[in-house]
Subunit: 201 residues, 2 copies
């Protein structure tokens, strides 16, 4: 009898620890990347419940493109990050291993009855991800789940010529590590305070 | 000894229930509205960790405004909802009591080094909220926390002439209850499936 009581107490302690996390409103950190075959990223279908970082309109990848010259359809671009990594960043100004960014592109519509001039988001067009993980040679990896009409459930890390441009741009033009914190206003201030901004930002 | 073992078991059952919520990745539903004096809404400072619904650019309030005629500065408008109400909506297509929307306006900047043509979000300009709660005569209430340089910590529900336009527009032009689900693409499909869209949507 004594023994089972002790084991119950230990179990309670564990549950109490877990529940204190719940009561503080923070979900457990089970939101990191899931892989198949070690490095193929499983599409995180709950990313819309992750932490939103920002949204842009018609943010081109081509830095050489002059203003107004875009011929691409104008898309909204929403960025989400897994909640536990977001909390870590807000405390430290750095991204922990396992940080997963999801980049979602959506069509921009206009001329709604209630707002003739504004632009709002409609269908998802494509989905991409960026992950910080020591399992990758570079420490970061990029993934493309493709177009929305045929979204992949699992994506292998982009490699070779596919990813060279990603790495170059995410190295030379990003404010913190490999991430565009200069476009995430709530993070930019934290990075400034923590001294993790790269020189020039 | 028997008595304490039983009470420990009950405690463990409680913790087990709570922990199962954690393990499913859902924080406890302690994210509803907090009031002072019964109806004055306390500004929810963690709303950036809530569920993001959508972002629009230059979405005017004035339905009569012809396309292109806006003289207001173009602002991004981000909409967040408390996570437990979002989960309820995804299951039912309806908003439970305590649903809290936060509407955040941010400046739109352009001509970033990496994207000359695109527009991205910078400083917050103002903050508003809409709450569904049976404590209000109308079942819903609207709040304005004001401009970002002097954001109120607590806001009383808008009343009289201040709110007449809000109520009219949120009644006549919204797709589900008093909310613009037509602009929240992930919710629109759920409402369609659950049959909670108003006629015409």
């Amino acid at each position: 009898m004594r023994k089972s009581t002790v084991s119950l107490s230990v179990a309670c302690l564990t549950f109490a620890t877990v529940s204190s996390v719940v009561l503080s409103g923070q979900p457990a950190a089970n939101d990191g990347p899931r892989y198949e075959n070690g490095t193929h990223l499983v599409r995180p279908d709950d990313y819309r419940e992750w932490t939103f970082l920002s949204s842009g309109l018609a943010m081109a990848y081509n830095e050489d493109q002059p203003a107004g010259a875009s011929t691409r359809p104008q898309l909204f671009q929403n960025v989400f990050v897994n909640p536990s990594s977001h909390r870590a960043f807000m405390e430290t100004g750095r991204w922990p291993d396992g940080t997963t960014f999801v980049l979602e592109f959506r069509r921009a519509a206009t001329d709604a009855e209630i707002s003739r001039t504004g632009r709002f988001q409609t269908d998802r067009v494509m989905l991409e991800a960026e992950v910080k993980d020591a399992r990758f040679p570079d420490g970061w990896a990029f993934f493309n789940f493709g177009q929305d009409d045929a979204l992949a459930e699992v994506a292998e890390p982009l490699a070779g010529a596919q990813v060279a441009r990603c790495i170059e741009c995410h190295t030379e033009h990003t404010a913190v590590e490999r991430t565009f914190v200069q476009f995430y206003p709530t993070l930019l201030e934290v990075a400034r305070q923590k001294g993790t901004l790269k020189p020039g930002f």
